[in-house]
Amino acid sequence: MSITRDEVAYLARLSRIELTDAELDHLAPQLDQIITAVAQVQEVAAEGIPPTSHATGLTNVFRDDVPVPCLTPAEALDQAPAVEQQRFKVPRILGIEE
């Protein structure tokens, strides 16, 4: 087995996805099957072959730094789930005891 149910639960927690037990039961064997299949890449990728992260080969691309109009505060906040005092209102980020 290439991935266990516990590992899937751990990765889901790292990915901030609160999976249900039923989903874990369903996903873990599927992911195991997928990982076993994709592990084929290990058959051919040998030492000395450089990795490719993207195909264009472009590096350090710059454009002219031209000032353009930006969103107004109202436009920027228009789609926010919650707003307070012209700011994004978010749930607390520190624990009660901290």
């Binding site: 990915s15 195909a55 472009l58 789609q79 789930p81 994004f88 607390r92």
Partner: protein
């Protein structure tokens, strides 16, 4: 004649000649959408009033004698992955339901600037992950050839809209085949331009090193006309190629393969390929040879590792890209009860906002990138990507283009592969190598498979920035095959007549 039956090129001529107005053309397509889209479900949002306002604006400009783009007044359907200012953009996901982007994608801007009339936003697999539109949070689209079949994906709403005459043109994105595979199974034309040839700015990211916007049309010329308008350098996309758009329209008009060297990829055949698809593919290759092309067989031995490499690279990039959906500044927020902290709200929102396939891929990507597994999975997949690029380089030193079937099979039934990820992934077997290499490829209809009477696609692959070669080959095949059939292939699509 019903205006929706015309090609984009014909509509453009009629509009320029003043035979029809943009308003009439737009209304005809809106009427068609109203008549059939409850069965096809190609659209997630129809922007009828905005489209008619845009059409009136084009008509006014034409009446004033303003100089207009060749496609001004021609309607288009836009995949819901492109941001459209003030128009809903969901990417097929609950997590973006009701979101109205504050800006337009570069391509959206270019469509508007060229006077194309945006009819609405088309359905897609959630975040472009899938090959059937069944992963859309808003229900699947249906194939106009047979409503019990999938229209392909992820750009299946766009392919279905064009095949159902709801729009003469559409745009989509191709990350592993998401333009060419739906085009093939719907019997229309779809192109994945060279990576970097079309802008990603404002295209909601799935796998950034692969995502490539491109055109759909019912004919090769229509597809080329749209390709030309939507492409070109964009300073807002750091991976955009700063070079002129290849001469795709003149290539489509030229439709000449005499003397061209065409390589049949022997590795894209065999087990898993439907016999009727292979028969139509081989007939198309024989036709091209008859038209003067020099056909040889070419081997690309690493293509068999493209699918596994893709299912490491794409999920890895997706797990990183989709971290932005954190319920803080836009989109869905679940569980903000005043007691839960930000991480709990994030985890609940992502649990309820993402569908099964998106979760599968985020977790798969997190696994492939995690320390201890990175070298064995993501690192190896990146090396395979190099081997596939080398296969293409070796092949293109011998031939001008490569050909294969576009898909191993015709459209499968809705539900048939829905909970079998590996079976679903095989739909992109032929298309993934071009995405990994970043070069250009097209699918053009090559006939109906004898077993099921459903369309198959001829897949043509060209080197990066040689997109024009695709159109030469596809247009020659289209002309020869249409003559043989006696009518455009799509005239046989009867799914909406039953």
């Amino acid at each position: 004649m019903d205006l929706t039956r015309h090609t984009a090129a014909e509509l453009a001529d009629k509009l320029a000649a003043g035979e029809v107005s943009a308003t009439e053309v737009t209304q005809a397509h809106l009427d068609r959408i109203a008549a059939v889209d409850d069965r096809v479900h190609a659209f997630l949002h129809v922007a009828a009033e905005r489209a008619l306002a845009q059409a009136r604006d084009v008509d006014d400009k034409r009446a004033r004698g303003d100089s207009l783009s060749p496609l001004a007044g021609v309607p288009i359907a836009v995949k819901d992955v492109f941001t459209t200012r003030g128009m809903p953009t969901t990417c097929g996901s609950r997590i973006l339901e009701g979101w109205h982007p504050p800006y337009d994608a570069t391509i959206t801007q270019r469509l508007k600037a060229n006077g194309l009339i945006i009819l609405g936003k088309t359905n897609m697999d959630e975040f472009a992950m899938g090959s059937s539109t069944e992963n859309s949070a808003f229900g699947p689209s249906r194939n106009p050839w047979d409503l019990s079949k999938v229209p392909g994906g992820s750009s299946g709403g766009s392919s279905a809209a064009v095949a159902a005459y709801e729009a003469p043109l559409a745009i989509g994105t191709d990350t592993g085949g998401s333009i060419r595979q739906p085009a093939a199974v719907c019997g229309i034309v779809g192109t994945k331009p060279t990576y970097g040839g079309s802008s990603r700015y404002g295209v909601i990211a799935f796998a950034s090193s692969l995502d490539t916007p491109g055109p759909f049309g019912r004919t090769v010329l229509d597809t080329a006309l749209l390709h030309e308008v939507m492409s070109g350098h964009d300073p807002m996309d750091s991976t955009s190629i700063d070079a002129p758009v290849p001469p795709v329209v003149s290539a489509a008009r030229q439709a000449d393969v005499s003397g061209m060297r065409i390589g049949v990829v022997s590795d894209l055949s065999g087990e898993g390929y439907q016999p009727g698809v292979m028969t139509r593919f081989q007939e198309a290759v024989e036709l091209l040879e008859h038209l003067g092309a020099k056909v040889t067989e070419v081997s690309c031995p690493h293509f068999r590792y493209a699918l596994p490499a893709y299912y490491l690279i794409a999920p890895s990039e997706c797990s990183s890209n989709l971290a932005r959906f954190d319920a803080m500044r836009y989109g869905l927020r679940i569980g903000d009860d005043g007691a839960s902290d930000a991480e709990q709200v994030m985890a609940q929102t992502r649990e309820q906002g993402f569908g099964a396939e998106v979760k599968r891929r985020i977790i798969l990507g997190a696994y492939a990138l995690s320390s201890g597994y990175y070298d064995a999975y993501y690192g190896k997949a990146q090396q395979v990507r190099t081997l596939i690029i080398r296969d293409f380089e070796a092949a293109f030193s011998q031939v001008d283009v490569l050909v294969s079937p576009a898909t191993p099979t015709t459209a499968f039934g809705i539900g048939d592969r829905a909970d079998d990820p590996m079976a679903m992934y095989l739909a992109d077997l032929c298309t993934i190598p071009s995405d990994l290499a970043g070069n250009a490829a097209i699918s053009v209809p090559c006939g109906l498979a004898a077993e099921d009477g459903l369309p198959a696609g001829l897949h043509v692959m060209a080197p990066a920035m040689a997109d024009d070669r695709l159109y030469r080959v596809a247009a020659a095949a289209e002309a020869g095959l249409t003559e043989r059939w006696g009518h455009p292939l799509l005239a046989g699509a009867k799914g909406l007549d039953r």
